[in-house]
């Protein structure tokens, strides 16, 4: 925990890494200064894009001792303001699951290659990023913990499946290799509390290490301080749970 007489330094910059299909994409990378070793975390950004909140959150993880990287999952849609790029992706019905998983795996491999990492890499995501984080944790080898914040579309009916989203993420639950923390709101419509229960039941069925929390008086995106869905008490508690979870599973050296 930070003390007022401590030295603190963070290096934060845009980097380039190899994502899905070997494509070069950009990413926002923030890490504590020093030789480490540091645990690492990959951030899967939300539907509103690779935006200011995600750069801030990446920096927040670095301030808390993590080498944190947020790949631009919308890189292939072109460049402009994060909103304009995200709107383009929204108009295209989202990105392909294979693309998200490949980019997140690429970010994981990037941080694993660095000399000051302790060998543990987690993944965090909110909204569509929670769903992508879950998919990546299940399908890409190498994640040691996953934080799914209100990831919608983990449970999908068959009519929602398409070429970009051919398999409901819940179907991969048997392959989840690491502990999962899930934070959800009772008033959310995606995922609904019922869908969260289905997800939880699947995790239990496969004897996975999971810790799900359903917050009352909260809906979707209750961490977003710039949106009306922000819920102060739930957000503070949620962040405490995230850092306690990551401390437990990522801070012991491999």
């Amino acid at each position: 925990m930070y003390q007022t007489d401590m030295y603190e330094g963070v290096l934060a910059e845009t980097v380039t890494l190899q994502g899905a299909n070997g494509d070069l994409i950009n990413a926002y990378f923030a890490r504590p200064l020093g030789s480490g070793p540091f645990p690492a975390i990959v951030l899967a950004h939300h539907m509103p894009g690779w935006d200011e909140w995600y750069r801030e959150t990446t920096f927040k993880f670095a301030q808390n001792g993590y080498a944190a990287i947020s790949p631009n999952l919308y890189f292939r849609a072109g460049h402009g303001t994060p909103e304009d790029v995200a709107a383009k992706v929204r108009g295209e019905g989202g990105i392909a699951d294979d693309s998200a998983v490949g980019d997140l795996e690429g970010a994981m491999k990037y941080v694993r290659s660095l000399p000051y990492i302790n060998g543990k890499v987690g993944i965090f995501g909110t909204c569509s990023g929670g769903r992508h984080a879950y998919l990546a944790a299940c399908r890409a080898e190498g994640f040691d913990a996953v934080v799914d914040c209100w990831g919608g579309g983990v449970v999908m009916t068959k009519d929602k499946l398409d070429a970009k989203h051919p398999v409901a993420p819940i179907e991969y639950t048997k392959d989840l290799p690491c502990p999962i923390l899930g934070l959800f709101g009772e008033e959310d419509s995606s995922p609904t509390p019922e869908q969260v229960k289905q997800h939880e039941a699947e995790l239990k069925k496969h004897d996975k290490n999971y810790d799900f929390h359903m917050y009352p008086d909260a809906g979707h995106g209750f961490f977003y301080y710039h949106r009306p869905m922000y819920r102060q008490a739930q957000a503070v508690d949620g962040w405490e749970k995230i850092f306690a979870f990551l401390e437990k599973y990522l801070c012991a050296s491999a």
Partner: protein, 95 residues
């Protein structure tokens, strides 16, 4: 993408974006998270020209009720124009 509800329609016309007027190519109509409107989900319309990149965009985000009223109003205005014989003056904007 949390709802993934989106429809596209080809359109003719012009839109005024951050860099001035541009030729519209299509409208993307979605019911999903807005960027600015203080709603969890909104009816979003992006008037775009993809050939000019993501920044060629005029965006509106509105509540479901507002969207339904807007649809009624557009149709009412077109009906009046048709009744007044004005639609005959329509010509292809791209011609």
């Amino acid at each position: 993408m949390c709802t993934m509800i989106v429809e596209k329609v080809k359109i003719e016309g012009s839109g005024k974006g951050a860099s001035g007027w541009f030729t519209l190519q299509q409208a993307n109509v979605s019911y999903d998270h807005p960027f600015n409107a203080p709603l969890e989900h909104a009816l979003n319309i992006d008037f775009v020209n993809e050939s000019q990149g993501p920044s060629a965009r005029v965006a509106v985000e509105m509540s479901e009720a507002a969207a339904r009223e807007l649809v009624k109003t557009i149709l009412a205005v077109l009906d009046q124009a048709e009744t007044g014989g004005h639609l005959e003056q329509h010509h292809n904007l791209t011609a």
